[in-house]
């Protein structure tokens, strides 16, 4: 979990007018996300999003993903993976051992990404990592009607689950996943509600392996990554 990473960064550069806001996409609410938050004990706002509202608003299909928002509330980097890459896929699916080169790759992307955040905190709009509007627009993944229908199906599933109808809820989650196969947030959340072991278990690894050459996390479009 990344909460301590963002906390360390906040303690370093918070006085430059920088603040992380983390959002847990967790239909299980405080019960699910709370233990992680208590363990990290962040001093930045650490919020809980049972309905994946922020995922909808910012088109986040996975975690961790992030968007950079300037002092005026303008998006200066649209949604992208938050300093991570696909190197976890080299992990042994049962022992969780990771080859050294995969660890190095993950460390590199994280350092570059944290460096970019520091640069933005210091230089603001003069930072090369704060993108001009036309570039932000070019990078936007525009929502369409299929995404919108997926979101309302997910909402129905989440509501029915909350109301004590887990089997019926899964039918709506299935529809959301069908409409939005690229959303690992839908897929893993639905698994987690069905059986907490599933979202990181054999089903998860089988689905990741089925990606083949496709990415789980898109490559971050940033110099040095």
């Amino acid at each position: 979990m990344d909460l301590p990473v963002w906390q360390k960064l906040y303690s370093e550069i918070g006085d430059l007018g920088f603040v992380p806001i983390t959002v847990a996409f967790d239909a299980g609410g405080v019960e699910a996300a709370g233990p992680w938050i208590r363990a990290a004990n962040p001093t930045y706002p650490s919020l809980i999003d049972r309905q994946h509202v922020v995922a909808d608003l910012y088109d986040m299909v996975n975690v961790p993903m992030a968007v950079w928002i300037d002092e005026d509330g303008r998006i200066v980097r649209p949604t992208e993976p938050a300093g991570t890459n696909d190197s976890f896929r080299a992990m042994d699916h049962t022992t969780y051992a990771i080859p050294a080169e995969a660890i190095d790759s993950l460390r590199t992307v994280r350092e570059v990404y944290l460096g970019a955040l520091r640069d933005w905190a210091e230089k603001g709009p003069a930072s090369q990592f704060a993108l001009p509007e036309d570039e932000v627009l070019r990078r936007l993944n525009e929502p369409n009607d299929s995404h919108a229908l997926a979101a309302v199906n997910f909402r129905m599933g989440e509501y029915l689950h909350e109301q004590g109808h887990p089997a019926d809820a899964q039918r709506y989650f299935d529809e959301a996943k069908r409409l939005r196969p690229e959303s690992w947030a839908y897929r893993r959340q639905a698994w987690a509600l069905e059986d907490p072991a599933k979202s990181g278990g054999p089903e998860f690894w089988a689905a990741v392996d089925a990606l083949g050459e496709d990415k789980y996390y898109a490559k971050i479009d940033m110099p040095g990554v």
Binding site: V19, I48, P143, M156
Partner: protein
């Protein structure tokens, strides 16, 4: 009686989940976010004129047909007649238009102690908005 979900708002409406959802005009804004004004149906600053020749389809006896508005605006509606639930979302076009403004959409969410935070509370700072999950 059916439950009506409009984005994150939850309320009750008369009629079944397979029917049009007619919401009392005086509670419309609280239960759906939409308000009925002289210029039309308004969501915050944004107003949609009600088609004059179809006014009866939308407003009748102090009630507003929120599912008719959804159809009119291309908003997705999902109905569960078994449990009596109608869910209305935002249209794909609405989502795309909002993102294209590059103005970060606001939201309001609780922290672990139940205290509510809005993104706009942090205006004036550089916000790094990051997702994670326990799963």
């Amino acid at each position: 009686m059916a439950m009506l979900l409009v984005n994150d708002l939850v309320s009750q409406v008369a009629g079944g989940a397979g029917d049009d959802a007619w919401v009392a005009v005086d509670s419309l804004e609280r239960t759906t976010g939409w308000a009925l004004k002289p210029e039309g149906a308004c969501l915050g600053e944004r107003c949609v004129p009600i088609p004059v020749n179809r006014a009866d389809d939308f407003v009748r006896d102090g009630r507003f047909n929120i599912t008719a508005l959804a159809d009119y605006l291309g908003q997705p509606v999902v109905r569960d007649t078994n449990h009596g639930v109608i869910a209305i979302g935002e249209s794909g076009e609405g989502r795309a238009n909002r993102l294209r403004t590059l103005s970060a959409p606001d939201f309001r969410l609780p922290d672990i102690d139940g205290q509510m935070h809005s993104l706009s509370d942090y205006r004036g700072r550089k916000v790094f908005l990051a997702s994670w999950a326990s799963w």
